[in-house]
């Protein structure tokens, strides 16, 4: 065994003597294993945590011997340890009196035993998970370096977009009709394509409703305030079915109205089929030219 320097042993013996209310010599003897350890029990119910070397005759039941696994791993307050850690605790309580009876002096010391030679077997009753008092605000996130993992795809998509745009511009000629003339109204006069859904709505309803209330109230106010209206914190589509449905309906509605406005409206805003009458306000076929 390890040699403990005399002065350290002396100091801890003094501390032990003071704590247990015994003489220093007694404490020293206990620590060296020459005397049985003194027990000061304040709270007998809790004592079950430790098991002293029981008399040889005592064979602990298998349940009592198996350490921790049966016990719960959740933190348990010490006062309730006996009740909450079901099996082991129960068994231990049953066993204790029998073990104690022959020699109360050998009973479990509550505190750490300083004497290296006294064998104290300890049984794991519960495992309290080490947890910080404060929870860290940020969880570790799986991240990659921006360069090159983000910059490269961005650069490629940028190049692809440039190539697409130049190709499109080389093939498709931007429309240029005859010079602006306020005295000649084309029939029909159409807004830019992104407003044609609105123009289509205008043909159904009163302009106060279709031209103002819908784009201004629905389109702007509700749209901007959407995050403040939708308080559901879930982001997965399966948990926000209404929002998904709402937006998809909006998308479909806007798409259908715009397509009708662009392709299916002819002179006098009457219904027309582009494959029969052609596309109004611009003949798409005239735009396409190869150079």
């Amino acid at each position: 065994m390890v040699d403990i320097p005399e002065h350290l042993l002396q100091r801890s013996a003094e501390a032990r003597a003071k704590a247990l209310g015994i003489s220093i010599e007694q404490a020293l003897a206990e620590m060296k294993g020459e005397s049985d350890p003194t027990v000061v029990s304040k709270d007998p119910e809790v004592k079950i945590i430790d098991e002293t070397p029981a008399p040889a005759a005592e064979t602990p039941s298998p349940a009592a011997e198996t350490p921790a696994p049966a016990a719960e791993v959740t933190p348990v307050k010490e006062e309730h340890a006996a009740e909450t850690t079901e099996k082991v605790a129960e068994v231990a309580i049953e066993k204790k009196p029998a073990a104690k009876a022959p020699d109360p002096k050998t009973d479990a010391p509550d505190e750490v035993d300083f004497a290296p030679e006294v064998k104290v077997t300890q049984r794991l009753l519960t495992v309290v998970k080490a947890k910080p008092i404060q929870k860290a605000a940020s969880e570790p996130v799986d991240k990659v370096n921006t360069w090159p993992h983000l910059m490269l795809p961005e650069f490629v998509s940028l190049m692809a977009m440039t190539a697409f745009l130049i190709l499109l511009s080389a093939i498709l000629q931007a429309p240029l009709l005859e010079e602006a003339n306020p005295n000649v109204t084309p029939n029909p006069a159409k807004a830019p394509w992104y407003f044609l859904g609105l123009q289509e709505l205008l043909s159904y309803w009163d302009p106060q409703i279709a031209g103002v209330m819908i784009p201004l109230v629905l389109g702007l106010v509700v749209w901007m305030a959407f995050p403040y209206i939708d308080r559901n914190p879930e982001t997965h589509p399966s948990k926000r079915k209404f929002a998904i449905m709402f937006y998809t309906f909006f998308l479909a509605g806007a798409g259908v109205l715009t397509i009708i406005g662009v392709l299916f409206r002819g002179p006098g805003w009457n219904w027309t089929y582009p494959w029969i009458d052609g596309i109004w306000f611009d003949d798409l076929l005239d735009w396409i030219h190869f150079e």
Partner: protein
């Protein structure tokens, strides 16, 4: 010392000269630490961080991004492409400004662009199709954000800015629509301006302010021109700056789902 062949000697001189130039005062004054153009660049995590931190063009991004956000299928690059299209439109737009007068001559100028000026037709087409594309891409970007629920806390306010940016994009496109000063332009703007006239209470005033009169004239053309090339780009750049800044302040890309 062993004798080097002529080729090896040239190579040695080249390497030494290159190193002393790249490590010299001029280059180290131009490039910040970690630049691949500096002497002794090695591909290390530290230098990769420097590439982003010390480069003005990459400075929009944080040094590290969430792994799922890098997947092309997550964002389809729509936000980045919106910004890129804005840059393309700025460049082509400035180019077009050299050849365009927002007066009765506007139509003639556009005709000249189409026929006389080198690459005029191509640049005008790029500007026009790029504008349509930008409206589309911004709209798709908004849809992507919506379907990912990316507008939820703490990103609510960035959604609001995003809607403003969409609105500004539409306004930029709409004001640009008039500039060719052809029949398509003037009547599309007339229809759009009349829609603004249906605004309750201030309808007539809104229409008058938009048209600079009672109908689309060359005064409207000048007004739309100034809005298109100066005022609205100025506003949109401010909102874009806040938008990008908030993306980073709100914790980068949203998700994963």
């Amino acid at each position: 010392m062993q004798k080097l062949s002529l080729r090896d000697r040239i190579k040695e001189v080249r390497v030494t000269a290159g190193d002393s130039f790249r490590g010299g005062k001029l280059m180290s004054s131009i490039f910040r630490p970690g630049s691949p153009f500096k002497k002794g660049y090695v591909d290390s995590p530290r230098n990769r961080s420097y590439v982003v931190m010390n480069n003005v063009l990459y400075h929009l991004h944080p040094v590290k991004v969430k792994r799922h956000g890098v997947r092309l299928s997550y964002t389809l690059c729509l936000g980045g492409l919106s910004f890129f299209l804005f840059i393309v439109l700025t460049i082509t737009g400035i180019w077009l400004m050299f050849y365009f007068r927002p007066t009765e001559l506007a139509y003639v100028d556009i005709q000249a662009l189409q026929t006389d000026i080198a690459f005029g037709s191509l640049v005008r087409n790029m500007h026009r199709w790029g504008a349509h594309l930008m409206v589309l891409v911004v709209f798709l970007h908004m849809s992507r954000v919506f379907y990912h629920g990316a507008y939820k806390a703490p990103r609510e306010f960035n959604w609001v800015i995003g809607v403003i940016l969409l609105l500004l994009t539409l306004l930029l496109s709409f004001t640009g629509y008039l500039l060719p000063w052809d029949q398509l332009a003037i009547w599309a703007v007339t229809v759009g301006g009349n829609m603004a006239g249906y605004t309750p209470v201030i309808g007539a005033q809104a229409k008058f302010g938009l048209f600079a009169g009672l109908e689309a004239t060359t005064a409207t053309l000048l007004r739309f021109y100034v809005l298109h090339v100066l005022f609205l780009p100025f506003i949109i750049v401010i909102f874009m700056a806040v938008h990008f800044w908030r993306v980073r302040k709100d914790g980068g890309i949203s998700g994963p789902l």
